[in-house]
Symmetry: C2
Subunit: 367 residues, 2 copies
């Protein structure tokens, strides 16, 4: 992957190329080995004046002849591209290259926010709701329903920022205290600045093939109801639950086997809700487990050892692929010691979510 | 499919929904049968203020729970989405719904042109080159290299417009004479108005499953060199050639078996070049075959019985899917008599091209 930064001194194509070349090098593959290129990207057309990004990247990489396409699933574009690559291998390709890339600094902040908000159901968009709005409403409901102290949200931010201190690729590499998180400016009450992920530039890439030291045990996706107000329970993100169930169903693993997980913490509340939807914790209890250190690097289930979206940053199309990259490093023991999950992790899970649970893609890996 | 129109009185989501519901009805499938939804669309973000179009369409169709994504490959987004759907079935899904949709009237003409031109290599974009430019240069080279009369280009326009007279879904349903075509305003010499496809709104959809009366014998894609100037020969669209070879290699068919073909005639010259690259005719001879009527409805190889991009219209993401729809109707004998390919066609080919040959996807069907 490339460093995830607020404003990368590289074009979107250069970011994609850099990550891809690093992955090809790591896999000891030549561009001519690549049969299939899949690019995960959400907003290149809106923000970077780039149409046909996959085809432009083909020539940057020197993989002319390979088939190629771009896969878009807003913030889960990366995992959807991974899913696409896996099915390309199943369909006969020997080597598939998956690149997730986003350059959010390509547009003015207001334009970026507007482009993202256009994934919201038109009725809710018209009412002025944004992703932070939904997250704030959900956080408020969670704290209320389960009688949770608001410090619980800060625990997630503290953990993920601490992990990112040792991640050279992370956007934010400074730790934060619970007090700082709790006193930071309100974004969408009760969520504050340190409860919300950032806008980021970056790219991540993965080479898929028929052999290797890390296996994709299962990958699956599921969609939910577009309008949050139309859901039976706004605290239930059914697409996450269903994607997780389907992914595990394709494997011989179950939740207890998972040593390390990359969870889509676009907002701190989402880390808690997703851990519950995935069945790692009962409803309303993930916050206690987090406070008890169960999701720390040395906990029962290491969550977001790379910093998560919160601290590593969230370049929309790149995130899902960077989650896979992080898991591969963890399996190989290649993460910096200070954030290496101990005990030789062997089973990992990644969940990448589009919108406020519009679409989730879950991947289970072993290595 | 929906009617292809200059300015549909439906939103982009309504267009997609309408085509999808028609396909589901034709397949006797319920929304709950759909395991996988793939949306082919090029510019919804730029032109229609729609992010995450696949996820928005999920709720419009009532297929929540299905996995979904959008596939983008500029003008070949439709065929890439078909390819995605086929591999989803290979990966385990029982029923995949593929919807191609574009609403180009969503933006001002200048904005649409700008968005499309952003697929051009940045160096050539900076020089003011557009897709019509490349096509004009290629047409000029073709006429010169093979000593072809310019009337040859008009023959393609006349044929495709004539076919579309009997296509209720086509954007243009009036025939045109060779004289009218040859006298129409110059767009990019020697190409004139009737040599160039239009901007269109429309949607097309296909239900893929493990059984049915029409089979996808093979589908394959290939990319070419991004910058046209960097290609050894601007008259060789290698991505078309390679995609065709790969598609046939996956089947038990060869070119002689093909009864009917949907060729990507974004410009009349492209119909000729692609027929040659696909091996149906030797280089520089497709124009003679067209003039001799070999590609007419009752010819040896019926080309673009639905009117092609030229007369049916070219809603970017929908076109590749509409080519498949046309072939299915031809196999079933469901096309209006006046444009039904006689003799019970059994093998068909569709070629969908992104940019000026940046990326091509070829599908071979039997029915």
């Amino acid at each position: 992957m490339t460093a995830f930064e607020s404003e990368a001194d590289r074009s979107i194509l250069e970011l994609g190329r850099l990550a891809a070349e690093r992955a090809l090098s790591d896999a000891a593959c030549e561009p001519s080995d690549v049969a299939s290129l899949h690019v995960g990207n959400a907003l290149a057309g809106e923000l970077n004046a780039q149409a046909g990004i996959a085809n432009a990247l083909v020539s940057r990489l020197g993989v002319e002849g390979a088939r190629a396409d771009r896969v878009e699933n807003t913030s889960a574009s990366g995992a959807s591209a991974i899913h696409r690559g896996v099915e390309a291998i199943a369909g006969g390709a020997d080597v598939a290259l998956v690149v997730g890339v986003e350059k959010m600094s390509g547009g003015e902040t207001a334009a970026v926010t507007e482009s993202i908000s256009r994934l919201v159901h038109e009725r809710e968009y018209a009412q002025g709701l944004t992703l932070p709005s939904f997250a704030g409403i959900a956080a408020d409901a969670y704290l209320d329903r389960y009688d949770v102290p608001r410090e619980a949200l800060a625990t997630v931010a503290v953990k993920n920022h601490e992990n990112a201190v040792h991640n050279q690729f992370a956007q934010f590499r400074t730790s934060v205290t619970a007090e700082e998180a709790l006193e930071s400016p309100v974004i969408a009450a009760p969520l504050r600045l340190f409860d919300c992920c950032s806008m980021t530039d970056g790219a991540a890439a993965v080479v898929l093939s028929r052999e290797g030291d890390v296996s994709v045990e299962g990958v699956a996706g599921a969609t939910g109801t577009h309008a949050v107000a139309a859901r039976p329970d706004p605290l239930k993100i059914t697409s996450v639950r269903t994607a997780g169930e389907r992914a595990f169903a394709r494997t011989a693993c179950d939740r207890d086997d998972v040593d390390v997980a990359c969870i889509h913490d676009a907002f701190t509340i989402l880390e808690l809700l997703e851990l519950e939807e995935l069945g790692f914790y009962d409803a309303g209890t993930a916050w206690r487990a987090t406070q008890a250190g169960e999701t720390a690097l040395d906990g029962q289930l290491a969550v977001n050892p790379g910093g998560g979206l919160k601290a590593r940053g969230h370049p929309l199309g790149a995130t899902g692929v960077s989650q896979i990259v992080e898991l591969v490093w963890q399996f190989r023991g290649d993460a910096p010691t200070a954030r290496q999950v101990p005990g030789e992790p062997e089973t990992g899970l990644a969940i990448n979510v589009a919108g406020f649970g519009n679409n989730s893609v879950c991947t289970v890996l072993s290595g």
